[in-house]
């Protein structure tokens, strides 16, 4: 073999590695759009109040809307049981050792459950409690919400910039005990603004109900907006 044949050469590729998950997430996003279901995912560290907030959200929506929820945990069905107190259809995704939900797990879960997406107004997905890995896994959702509780420390966003940067909004939870734990609201909001300028922030307490009405209004108007965008335009 001549030297020329074994001389290394460079082949330009210039392509973003599109993970298998991202391809599936795109498909799911399209399916959700066609079905007219508004999909919300919740991410946070363990203990920020995702399950409590979701349970109360489901309770408030269920009288007017068709809602369902998926929740991921490494072990136990405890969260699903708690969410089911709302009366909504709920499924637990037990991940074993996997620290985040992936699009495939979500799809498998609602498929096995036999849920018809077209019959749903809202699908909520509660991710595994983890501020790191979920940032890398698109689930096809319309709204990704990152939760930060008043007990967690005001610099959490600075420590986990990627998850805050890839979220669509933030919710500060447990505001009812903010004073008791010495929560510095201005610093927390500044941290969020630092890693993601302009990220909308809601502050609420599931326990006291403070701020829950604004959360409901936001969900309902976002859901309606998505629906109206999918309507075929009428021509005269």
């Amino acid at each position: 073999m001549s030297d020329a044949a074994t001389t290394p050469r460079i082949v330009q590729v210039r392509q973003q590695i599109l993970k298998k998950n991202d391809v599936l997430a795109r498909d799911l996003r399209e399916r959700y759009r066609e079905a007219g279901v508004f999909v919300v995912s919740l991410v946070s560290s363990p203990g920020s109040g995702k399950t409590t907030l979701l349970r109360d959200t489901l309770k408030r929506l269920i009288s007017t809307y068709k809602v369902a929820a998926l929740v991921g945990d490494l072990a136990t069905e405890n969260d699903a049981k708690k969410l089911a107190e709302s009366g909504a259809p709920v499924r637990q995704i037990v991940t074993g050792t996997v620290c985040h939900l992936e699009a495939e797990m979500v799809e498998q879960s609602f498929t096995v459950a036999g849920w018809s997406l077209a019959d749903l107004d809202f699908l909520f997905i509660e991710n595994v409690g983890n501020l790191v890995c979920p940032a890398s896994y698109d689930l096809g959702e319309d709204l990704r919400v990152v939760l930060l509780s008043t007990t967690e420390g005001e610099d959490k966003p600075l420590k986990y910039p990627t998850i805050f940067n890839t979220a669509d909004m933030a919710i500060i939870t447990k505001v009812d005990i903010a004073d008791a734990v010495g929560f510095d609201r201005a610093t927390a909001l500044a941290s969020i603004e630092s890693v993601r300028p302009g990220l909308p922030v809601l502050e609420l307490s599931s326990k006291s109900g403070a701020g829950m009405d604004r959360w409901m209004d936001l969900l309902q108007s976002r859901c309606a907006a998505k629906r109206s965008m999918s309507q075929p335009t009428l021509t005269a």
Binding site: R9, Q15, I17, N165, V195
Partner: protein, 118 residues
């Protein structure tokens, strides 16, 4: 943690690209990646996963070169792109305006591969 599956997806992308270019009778001797701090991938972890992922493929034995992308934002006030020291503070280093628009930093890109014909 999930860098193993990212490495596997990278191998699949390279093999598909070489096939599409009619270059499948080559051995890959090097891979050049660009990774930004917001890609959600830790370069060191990807290095760990790399050897396991390329074993048994025509990338086996290849060298991985990772170029870490400096985060760059667009500043509307300055009307230009600015490098950032860190992704923890998305503000213009020159005029301190908030700069949410990220121009570079999310890359997880295969720039090129080095091949030898076989």
């Amino acid at each position: 943690m999930h860098e193993l599956s990212v490495a596997q997806d990278m191998v699949a992308l390279i093999e598909a690209q070489l096939l599409a270019q009619g270059d499948h009778r080559v051995k890959v001797t090097g891979v050049h990646l660009r990774i930004g701090p917001l890609a959600g991938v830790v370069p060191q972890a990807l290095r760990f996963a790399y050897d396991a992922s390329v074993a048994g493929t025509n990338l086996a034995g290849s060298t991985l070169k990772i170029e870490e992308v400096a985060p760059t934002v667009y500043c509307g006030a300055c009307d230009r792109e600015q490098f950032l020291a860190s992704i923890s503070r998305l503000r213009c280093p020159v005029c301190d305006a908030a700069t949410p628009e990220i121009v570079h930093g999310r890359e997880l890109e295969v720039v090129s591969v080095e091949v030898v014909d076989v």
